[in-house]
Amino acid sequence: MLDPAGPAAHSIATLWWVMLITFTVIFVFVMALLALAFRPAGSGLVPAFAEKVWIIGLGLVFPAVILLGLLAYGLWIGERLMPRAGAEVTRIEAEARSWSWRFTYGGDASRTTQNVLHIPAGRPVDIAITTADVIHSFWVPRLAGKLDAIPGHINVLRIEADIPGSYAGLSAEFSGNGYDNHRFTVIAHGPEEWQRFLEGDQ
């Protein structure tokens, strides 16, 4: 996820770096306060604060302001990553089972692939995720976050690859003995190649 290759993964990676920097600053600040507690008495280095400063200023207001900002930022990103209807959205069904993935294209039960997911590059793709047995999770770290495959439910995840190429996919919910190798591959095609995939044999 530190090497993003799609819009969703990009914005989450940015989110991570923003949080890492902010929180490092906060951490250093708190540790500095902690260290200053050991300043020699009567050194006059830093005056002592009143109870109000500690509790209301640092305890209540300080985190509240930071959290509010962060929360708004997180919600805004989350909202943008939601699958929205659109003309060029491709929909692909993904069904997990222990321990493989089957992908169905265009709602056509005869157009399926096993453990390899073909998508068009540079276009949003909605993956409708479900499972035939236990809970699994669909995750392509370089493209987007993960979403669970839950019996009886269909969850839709929006993914997109910036450029053609192949990306590692993982199942990210423990599912028993075959979990280690419960993987798949995502192949993102350029426009012509994608057209050929849709028309041609697999």
């Binding site: 300080f62 959290l67 809970i135 993960k146 439910h153 839709v156 590692a168 919910e173 423990f174």
Partner: protein, 827 residues
């Protein structure tokens, strides 16, 4: 009588049987507290060894050390042992040992229950360890998600060990929580108002209420899942109207508060120790208490943040994300209050303080990464990766293990009477601190690089080899440090090197007891006027030993203490405790037979085990009370108060009320599950609703009104001095009628294995049947007690206890009838 004579006399009254036999019959809080702590430490050792095996396995790619079958047991049991068999029992042990001493009293509210809780923990823990020894341990991760844990995908006995063993262990948490709540509210030194309570007691009060409302969802979930596995009742099977998401909700309704149940007692220790280490008082005591309460309340609204990837609508996620980041506020209030305390005083780097600094560094990082994963899009990426595992260790190790180590070093002189003479502890701290951060900083990093949690091995191509190796080395350094801690403690126990009585110059009452600590704690009970009685009056220990306080004469030869008014701390009732008995261990063993019969599925034994539990329970309560009115008793300083047998709200009344809080939460969780399946599960509505049955409804309504009304009239009659026997008999008839009504309901219920709706009806009916039977037994008990002369106009407490249960029965019967028949009536 001089101090020594008083000491001898009180010791004779309070001490347990000598030698190892005493372990089985002791009900003294100091003994049981120590037993809890030692057993929990043993489980920490086992969990730690499992952690080392995990890190050994992950140190290199293609590791052939353990295959996935074994590896799944390793991490599942590591998580399970650490959470259920180490952290919670360690808290229970510390609080059992410390609370009465801090509160200035002689024991907890229900000494036999303390012991019963210990033995439930011991036997339940043993069940899980045995499964580990035989390689048939639970192996689906510590949160046990179905359908993986269902019968189809986990046919073995492994999962049953978890569901049944953990439920058995939970009994001890519920017992302890009831006990702490009542003890903190009612068993304090005279004059100790709520605002003068040691801050640790406040934290434990909050934690206890959280256990009472946090554990029942898990207990319910475990029961439902076991019912599904054993009898095919499909609560979590989507094809038959169940939904596996229901488990996730029930589990995390417990699981999130659980984290705070573990953290808050540790925070309580920090709030206690840190001011002493800084020679000052806690800054913002009221704010800190308010923050703990706020944290507790908020923590029940966060559970969905463990389910951000399950496909819940984004608006819902936004709410839980906001709530989850919000908890950082009360946490920050506490952290800054602590740092402010240090600024206010003059902190010194003694050993407990080192661990508190370790706590600060680690916990602040854990809190910040916690805020990160509370931001939904980020969680979508890191959920179920090593990043989350690393985060949770920063919180649990930083927020629990470091404070507990601080606490151990702080209170060790109290327990052993000895002081340290090696600098082993400082060395150990350095290794633990360093090892910890190396291990888990590295795990954050591989997590971000895409390493999932719970994988048994990885490939060299993944590029995680070096980081994992570093992490494992760090793990072993930390393990070495923890071993040094253990050695240090053993040395402290073994080598006699007397400490001063109050080596840290604390102000709280636990340092006023004789040294080494005596079974009775206080030779006489102090009058408390501030939060730091020992600072007000440094010679208090000597005065108490001289018998200057309350109950100083040990005249009756019984174990005595005081109950006080909740707010003011004014003495209210004279407590007479039961003495040593094997009843708790026997009752726990029989309870164990019940659970084992379910585990090995030999159901013919189950009814006998239940009957034996009921019989022993009967005996348990029969031993209390008195056959004659004693009248108000002198407790010293000219104060006269009634004994607990002669009040309308005896300890059993308080215990019943808080036990029913837990019980009501269980019932509420059941109704939540019903509503959840109804609205969310795909397979609803069911093929047919239950036919409303007029005879059942009439029998239930008549029965419950007679039961509750009869009890109420019995209370009234007894109050007026007339004979309550007829009214009690009427109540008995009513309760038995209700038993019949619920039996009829179950008889007519549709087959439970066919749809989750049917299964829910059966569980609701069984819940009613159980409570109707229980209340019948209680009313029957009243009748027998009345015959035997235990009840009089003054000795009225038992009637009011049964009244509480009758009211509860009344309410749940109404709700069950509605839940079962209303859909059929409307639909």
């Amino acid at each position: 009588m001089n101090a020594l004579a008083r000491h001898r006399k009180l010791t004779a009254i309070w001490s347990s049987e000598p030698g190892w036999k005493g372990w089985f019959s002791t009900v003294n809080h100091s003994d049981v507290g120590r037993m809890f702590i030692v057993t929990a430490a043993f489980h920490f050792l086992v969990g730690g060894i499992l952690a080392m095996l995990i890190r050994a396995q992950l140190a290199t790619p293609h590791s052939a050390f353990a295959g996935p079958e074994i590896y799944s047991q390793l991490f599942t049991m590591h998580g399970t042992i650490m959470m259920f068999l180490f952290a919670i029992p360690m808290i229970e042990g510390l609080a059992i040992y410390l609370l009465p001493k801090m509160l200035g009293t002689r024991d907890l509210a229900y000494p036999r229950l303390t012991a019963y809780g210990y033995w439930c923990y011991f036997f339940g823990g043993a069940m899980l360890l045995i499964s580990l020894l035989f390689g048939i341990a639970p192996d689906s991760g510590w949160f046990m998600y179905p359908p993986l844990t269902g019968r189809i995908h986990s046919p073995g006995i492994n999962t049953d060990f978890w569901l049944i063993g953990i439920t058995f262990v939970e009994i001890s948490a519920i017992c302890a929580a009831v006990e702490f709540t009542v003890s903190i509210l009612k068993y304090r030194a005279p004059g100790m108002t709520l605002a003068k309570m040691p801050v640790f007691a406040w934290y434990m009060l909050v934690v206890s209420l959280m256990i009472l409302t946090g554990f029942p969802p898990l207990i319910l979930g475990s029961i439902l899942l076991e019912l599904e596995r054993a009898f095919g009742m499909p609560f979590f099977q989507v094809e038959l109207g169940g939904d596996s998401l229901l488990w996730q909700h029930l589990f995390w309704l417990f699981g999130h508060p659980e984290v705070y149940i573990i953290f808050l007692p540790a925070a309580g220790m920090v709030s206690t120790i840190l001011p002493v280490m800084s020679s000052t008082t806690l800054l913002g005591y009221r704010w800190v208490v308010a923050a703990a309460v706020a944290l507790a309340i908020l923590s029940f609204g966060l559970w969905v943040h463990h389910m951000f990837t399950t496909g819940i609508p984004h608006m819902g996620l936004a709410f839980f994300s906001a709530a989850s980041t919000l908890v950082a506020v009360p946490t920050a209030v506490q952290v800054f209050a602590w740092i402010g305390t240090m600024w206010k005083g003059s902190p010194t780097l003694r050993l407990p303080m080192l661990h508190i600094l370790g706590f600060f560094v680690t916990f602040v990082i854990g809190g910040l990464t916690g805020v990160m994963v509370a931001v939904v899009p980020f969680d979508w990426q890191v959920h179920d990766t090593a990043f989350v595992t690393a985060h949770l260790h920063y919180v649990l190790f930083g927020g629990f293990v470091f404070p507990v180590l601080a606490g151990i070093y702080y209170w060790l002189p109290l327990v052993t009477g000895n002081r340290r003479f090696f600098r082993l502890g400082e060395m150990a701290f350095a290794l633990i601190f360093l090892g910890f951060h190396v291990t888990f900083l590295a795990m954050h990093w591989v997590g971000l690089m895409g390493q999932r949690r719970r994988i048994s091995t990885y490939l060299p191509e993944d590029g995680w080899t070096v980081i994992n190796l570093i992490s494992s080395v760090g793990g072993f350094v930390m393990a070495f440090g923890l071993t040094l801690v253990l050695i240090g403690i053993l040395l402290n126990l073994a080598v006699r090197h007397r400490a001063r009585r109050n080596p840290w110059r604390s102000g709280t009452l636990e340092w006023a007891i004789p040294r080494p600590s005596a079974a009775y704690n206080f030779a006489s009970l102090p009058q408390v006027n501030s939060r730091e009685p020992l600072w007000d009056n440094p010679v208090l220990p000597a005065e108490l030993a001289r018998g200057d306080g309350y109950l100083g004469d040990a005249a009756t030869g019984r174990r005595e203490s005081l109950m006080v008014d909740i707010a003011t701390g004014k003495p209210e009732q004279l407590v007479i405790y039961p003495a040593n008995t094997r009843l708790p261990v026997i009752l726990a063993a029989v309870t164990g037979v019940f659970f084992v019969s379910l585990l090995v599925k030999i159901y013919v034994i189950t009814p006998f085990a239940i009957a034996a539990v009921a019989a022993l329970g009967w005996r348990w309560v029969w031993q209390l009370g008195s056959r004659q009115d004693l009248g108000d008793q002198p407790i010293g300083h000219g104060v006269l108060i009634p004994p607990i047998a002669e009040v309308s709200r005896p300890p059993g009344w308080w215990g019943s009320v808080f036990l029913l809080v837990a019980n009501a939460t269980l019932f509420g969780s059941l109704l939540f599950g019903y509503a959840f399946l109804w609205t969310i599960a795909p397979g609803w509505p069911p093929p047919a609703f239950m036919e409303p049955s007029l005879p059942t409804m009439l029998a239930a309504a008549g029965g419950v009104m007679l039961a509750a009304g009869g009890t109420a009239i019995a209370v009234r009659k007894n109050q007026n001095g007339s004979n309550p026997a007829v009214a009690i008999s009427a109540a008995l008839t009513g309760a038995l009628g209700l038993v019949v009504a619920f039996a009829m309901m179950l008889w007519n219920a549709p087959p439970a294995a066919e749809h989750a709706y049917n299964a829910t009806i059966v569980v609701l009916g069984s819940y009613g049947l159980f409570h109707a039977t229980l209340t019948s037994l209680m009313v029957l008990f009243l009748l027998a007690r009345q015959r035997a002369g235990y009840i009089s106009q003054r000795r009225r407490g038992e009637l009011s206890i049964v009244m509480v249960w009758a009211i509860y029965l009344f309410v749940v019967t109404g709700l069950i009838i509605l839940a079962v028949y209303l859909p059929g009536l409307v639909g």
